[in-house]
Amino acid sequence: MVTALKYLINILFLFSFLACTSVPVHKGIPYTDFPETENLIACILPMDTAVFRFPFRIKMQGDTVAIMDLHGMDHFIHLFHYPDLSYITSLGKRGDSPEEMLSVENIRWNGNSLWVLDANGLKLTRFGLALSNDSLLREEAVSLDKEILRGLDFVIYDDSTFIIPDYSGESRFCWVDRKGRLLHKMGIIPTTNEEALKHARPALAQAWRSFIDYNPRNGILAAVTQLGEVLEIYNLKDSTHIVRVGLHGEPEFKVAEGYGIPTGIMGFSDIQVTDTAIYAVFQGDTFEEISRKMQKGDMTDGGRYIYVFSLSGEPIKKYVLDHYVYGISVDELNGIIVTTDVNSDEPVVKYAVD
């Protein structure tokens, strides 16, 4: 009798719950597909020097291209002339002396200066380029505030301010001044996982590790998640915030030893905000698939898709590539996307787009 009553109560509760409420699946607006899909064929740009272990990022500045090697043995960054890719020089020497780097997470041009983020060394370093004689000078080093927990990406907001994703889980971004001091924090991880928000924020923040880009011309700061499929758009001019969630949902993880251990899928690997759109490289393989492939000796890494969104987060187009790539540099004006393929000794791959 008691059991039957419990069932009845459960059913009644379920009906009243469904009738009275609608529960959002995501905090963001879901997207399922792109209205247009285009296959792209690569043009491989040959290099006279094979120096890379993991060419993770590629950043263009005029006729100079900087390529960042995430696992570089001697140097993390190499400069080349573009488009012939003739070698100029290397910088960001690996090491633990004050002028060397323990790691490099990302690089950014600001005029003729190249900023380099060393997360393990807790510093941003600026190299001033004097290309007339192909030399490079380490001109400035900014030690980051200890309150900034493992800054894994950065953008240059203006001449005196950087924006760095926050991995404490307390917010989404840290605003940091030119001396490395934390100015303030903004945003919150847009997860639906309230339990993790309450009790496992550092692990949640690790799982929501994001790659970011900022375009000062339109004020768009965008972030994509390394796990899962979430795009966030902060319009810093009108203070609006848009979250778009793809079919793979938000990052999935387990907590072990206090760490957020990735499960689910590998999601995005790079992002660029241009004047008119947001470009993001997407992978989409599950970690089970990656593990299975590795066991068969297939070490291929990277994403075969470049997703294009409007500045308000509407899906516009999906490019399907014939290479697996990591970093992108989009030249919208000339209809070119230059990418890095970590699986090849000829890692610079160019695509012509509309």
Partner: protein, 68 residues
């Protein structure tokens, strides 16, 4: 009707709280390192390895995994 609804919610809340308590105990145990969980980082990649460096993926050991 309101009274019935409140009674139902109270009735349903009790077992959920017990479940949450167990859930949180697991998290705290893991965070406190009371039960060692082996973590392995496999391959060279872009995922942050808890042991340091960047790896292709992270594997964790036996049962005390808290799925999210």
């Amino acid at each position: 009707m309101l009274f019935v609804l409140i009674a139902l919610v109270s009735y349903m809340a009790k077992p959920e709280k017990a479940q949450n308590d167990l859930f949180l105990m697991n998290i705290e145990a893991l965070a406190a390192g009371e039960d060692y969980v082996p973590i392995q980082c496999i391959g060279t990649g872009t995922v942050d390895c808890p042991l340091g460096g960047k790896t292709k993926f992270v594997m964790i050991g036996y049962s005390l995994e808290v799925p999210y």
